[in-house]
């Protein structure tokens, strides 16, 4: 019984590694010297069927809570951290397995080279990252040392926003991960006097491991007012290929609130 439970949890662990992969946090703020901020984010991956068997009986709910922080040395140099807490529930027939754990700490140093163009800016980014386990247990998403690197390009005008970010993670005990994130957004509303507005972004998230290929896509809505921002995202899988038995990710939802000073 215990062995079966652990097998189930290991399968789920493959999913969690996708979730933890991306950095940096709060890519948009703060952009001033000495600025800092925090963000609390919640995300949920419900899954209803096995990718290989087409079986609708087993399903799971994976909830991740993140505490994210950022310190801005100047507009081009920042330090970020991300600390997850995972709550996973796996249901099969009459058995339910639960697993709660603090995840691995991810620290990154996003470095950006900005160009101020006529009515828009662009930047090329380079981000070294490190993943550090904070507890002794190696299980679902915790206990995996890793080193990552990210290369990005972003362009922004008052009306439009675009980001392309390709990254690579190497772990000491599992297959490496390659990812590509694309964000294409518009900025339909902004009030100068109150400094509030809305971004609407289309997100494409792709992850590749030796036995895993996943592409998720969907909209992101981000609203801000002065130093507070709220973000809500939906994503659906448009490609899921898996050689090892794994569950589909179904509809992904995420929401977060951040504050910068």
């Amino acid at each position: 019984m215990l062995i079966q439970k652990n097998k189930n949890l290991i399968k789920l662990g493959l999913i969690v590694t996708f979730v933890c992969a991306h950095q940096p946090v709060m890519d948009m703020a703060p952009r001033w010297k000495g600025g800092y901020g925090f963000q609390i984010r919640y995300e949920r991956f419900p899954s209803y069927h096995s990718l290989q068997r087409g079986d609708t009986k087993p399903y799971h709910y994976q909830n991740n809570y993140y505490l994210e922080g950022v310190y801005t040395l100047n507009r081009s140099k920042r330090i970020t951290f991300k600390l997850p807490y995972h709550v996973v529930s796996y249901h099969k027939s009459d058995s339910i397995s639960n697993y709660n754990s603090i995840g691995d700490l991810i620290v990154a140093i996003p470095l950006k080279k900005y160009s101020n163009l006529k009515r828009r800016t662009q930047n090329f980014g380079f981000t070294p990252q490190i993943r550090i386990p904070v507890n002794d247990r190696t299980n679902i998403a915790s206990g995996h040392h890793g080193l990552g690197i990210s290369l990005s390009y972003s362009s922004e005008s008052f009306k439009f926003y675009q980001l392309y970010d390709v990254f690579y993670w190497r772990y000491h005990d599992q297959d490496p991960l390659i990812g590509l994130d694309i964000n294409l957004g518009i900025h339909p509303y902004h009030d100068n006097a109150a400094n509030r507005g809305v971004f609407i972004i289309w997100d494409i998230t792709s992850r590749y491991k030796i036995h895993n290929k996943v592409i998720l896509t969907g909209p992101v809505v981000m609203s801000y007012h002065q130093n507070i921002m709220v973000r809500f995202a939906l994503r659906v899988p448009i490609l899921e290929k898996e050689n090892v038995n794994q569950l589909s990710k179904a509809l992904y939802t995420s929401m977060g609130i951040g504050v910068v000073f």
């Binding site: 001033w32 008052f158 910068v260």
Partner: protein, 133 residues
């Protein structure tokens, strides 16, 4: 009947022209927007200022400079990210230090494209950004 309408149109047109001339002396066109610069206001066109978080950073930095009138705008500073400019309100009979403004903006990673002041309330002065004069 027709001649009365024409007279009305001419009168309206003259009034608009007079108003436009009066305001025009205190206005500039920047990135397709007509902007009025009042007495004790400094307008700075900033390259790279395209987002609200850039606005927050500049607003915070500029409002801490000397001789800013904190009761105008948002702590003395108005930021327009759509048209990429900042207006700073000066205290009566005090001038802000333009060199400090330049250093603050460029030190934050942005570029100053142009600066306009209206210190007499009668005429807009255009500053030479390169020589800071």
């Amino acid at each position: 009947m027709q001649s009365i309408d024409i007279i009305k149109i001419v009168k309206k047109g003259s009034l608009i022209l007079i108003l436009f001339s009066f305001v025009g002396a205190q206005t500039i066109e920047l990135n397709k927007k007509i902007i009025t610069i009042k007495r004790h206001e400094v307008l700075i066109e900033v390259r790279g200022l395209v987002c609200s978080f850039c606005a927050m950073g500049l607003q915070g930095g500029l409002s801490s400079l000397k001789n800013i009138e904190p009761n105008k705008f948002n702590a003395g500073v108005f930021v327009d990210v759509e048209h990429q400019y900042v207006i700073i309100a000066e205290k009566d009979n005090y001038y802000i230090n333009i060199e400090e403004v330049l250093e603050m903006i460029t030190g934050s990673g942005y570029e100053v494209a142009s600066i306009y002041t209206n210190r007499t309330g009668e005429k807009i002065e255009i500053w030479n950004v390169n020589t800071k004069e």
